[in-house]
């Protein structure tokens, strides 16, 4: 495993379209639930423990078993009741594959897999292990929403990165838990849901004007 390779994959500057998504933050800002740093922190904590854990688990599983991508893809489908979130996840999966094809030699992964499945397959092709795939997924879950918070609320970017630094041990814990289930049957993988993310994504998809795609 190469640490530098992991940094390349987890870098926010990877041109995989992540900057276009707020990770569900924009509708909660609009609803008035997220206004300042503390509520951003609570948002990130809840997101990491729910969809972050699921993303990390599926990235780890897809990295360990990249040939089973279709099965994992269906596993994310049944854990994502919101059609808007399914669409956003597939768009990000496709964009990640497009970027990664120029970086590593990828196996066939379907046209538009869910983002965590694509991430696992790409991590495997890059020579990374399940734990590294899970760390990248967990970190990506919070870092994308954190940078959206800076743009949506005009928050101090230093303070927001302070949140990410404090969440790093939680990301490690989530990733370690996720890597442990990398060999489990799909139905037994984590399925922690976040109802307000689902509902918010559906409301958000009906807006005529929005800053982020999801």
């Amino acid at each position: 495993m190469s640490l530098a390779t992991l940094l390349v994959l987890a870098d926010g500057r990877l041109p995989s379209g992540g900057h276009a998504h707020s990770g569900g933050l924009e509708p909660q800002v609009s609803a008035g639930r997220v206004r300042e740093l503390d509520s951003v922190a609570e948002f990130l904590r809840g997101k990491l423990a729910t969809t972050g854990l699921v993303a990390a688990a599926f990235a780890a599983a897809a990295c360990a078993r990249p040939g089973n991508g279709a099965e994992f893809d269906q596993g994310i489908d049944v854990r994502t009741p919101s059609p808007a979130l399914r669409k956003a996840s597939r768009a990000q999966g496709r964009a990640l594959l497009r970027a990664a094809r120029a970086m590593w030699t990828l196996p066939s992964a379907g046209r538009e897999p869910h983002q965590p499945v694509a991430l696992g397959i790409v991590a495997s092709a890059a020579g990374l292990g399940a734990l590294e795939a899970a760390v990248a997924a967990a970190h990506g879950t919070v870092s994308g929403a954190a940078s959206a918070a800076v743009r949506l609320l005009g928050l101090d970017p230093y303070a927001v990165h302070g949140l990410l630094a404090r969440l790093a041990p939680d990301c490690d814990r989530i990733a370690a838990a996720a890597a442990k289930t990398a060999g489990a049957p799909v139905d037994d993988l984590p399925a922690a849901g976040a109802p307000l993310l689902d509902i918010g994504a559906e409301l958000h998809a009906t807006w005529e004007v929005r800053l982020f795609a999801s």
Partner: protein, 247 residues
């Protein structure tokens, strides 16, 4: 407390349903209350820590069953050294059969530690309306620790897989990604999707969403149970599930 209760509904061959098995152990007491309706009447407070409860529901080909409850389920602390209270519900719905699960809410009282595991298997051509309401804490009370773990399968494939954790052991559960200020949440899973109104979102924290497979989910989150009921009761009472619905 350990309980194993079981209800089996079968078609009587003339368009009706008969209960060929109705076995109850306290506190999961089942009572037939209508031609196709069974109520859980409860038997004592609980579940409490240490309780191990299991309910089995079987709806045979062409049969129709509705299960309700007369009162909320109140998860309570019990003795600290005992394992979390656990309710497992296993349901199977045959082709051409219909199950409506419409119980009163689960209330997670402060200090409780409770897990509900739900496994539903619907055969091709079966229909299902599965409602779960959860209230996190009684009035003006902190939530206890509660986790729900739900798998609904249709025609041999998983259709809906969902876990929800609330209370002191769940990071960020009362933050703006999970339940926010909401202390009540209700969900209805429908197979086929046509048992619910078309997809919609709002007003407030309410949405009806088509699942990736042949079903739909309605979710409502609110500060207390009243708006959740206002959003979900009408769509559950809208039309009785007809046997043999097509997804």
């Amino acid at each position: 407390m350990r309980a194993r209760s079981r209800v089996v509904a079968e078609s009587d061959g003339h368009g009706g349903t008969r209960l060929t098995e109705l076995r109850s152990e306290s506190p999961l007491l089942l009572r037939r209350t209508g031609a196709r309706t069974v109520h859980l009447v409860g038997g004592g407070a609980g579940p409490l820590r240490g309780d191990d409860l299991r309910l089995e529901i079987e709806v045979g080909p062409g049969a129709t069953l509705e299960i309700r409850s007369v009162a909320a389920q109140l998860a309570l602390p019990g003795r600290a050294h005992l394992p979390p209270s656990r309710l497992e519900i296993h349901a199977t719905v045959a082709g051409g059969a219909s199950l409506r699960w419409l119980p009163e809410p689960l209330i997670a009282a402060a200090g409780c530690d409770h897990l509900t595991v739900t496994r539903v298997e619907v055969a091709e051509g079966g229909s299902l309306l599965w409602r779960d309401d959860l209230v996190c804490g009684r009035h003006d009370e902190d939530s206890g620790t509660v986790r729900t773990d739900t798998t609904i399968r249709y025609a041999g494939s998983t259709l809906y897989r969902h876990e929800l954790s609330a209370g002191p052991a769940a990071p960020g559960w009362s933050g703006p990604a999970v339940l926010g200020e909401g202390r009540a949440i209700g969900t209805v899973v429908a197979v086929p999707a046509s048992l619910l109104p078309p997809a919609t979102s709002g007003p407030a924290d309410f949405a009806i969403m088509p699942l990736a497979g042949p079903g739909a989910l309605a979710t409502a989150v609110a500060a207390d149970l009243r708006p959740v009921r206002a959003a979900l009761d009408p769509i559950c009472d809208r039309q009785p599930a007809t046997a043999g619905g097509r997804p």
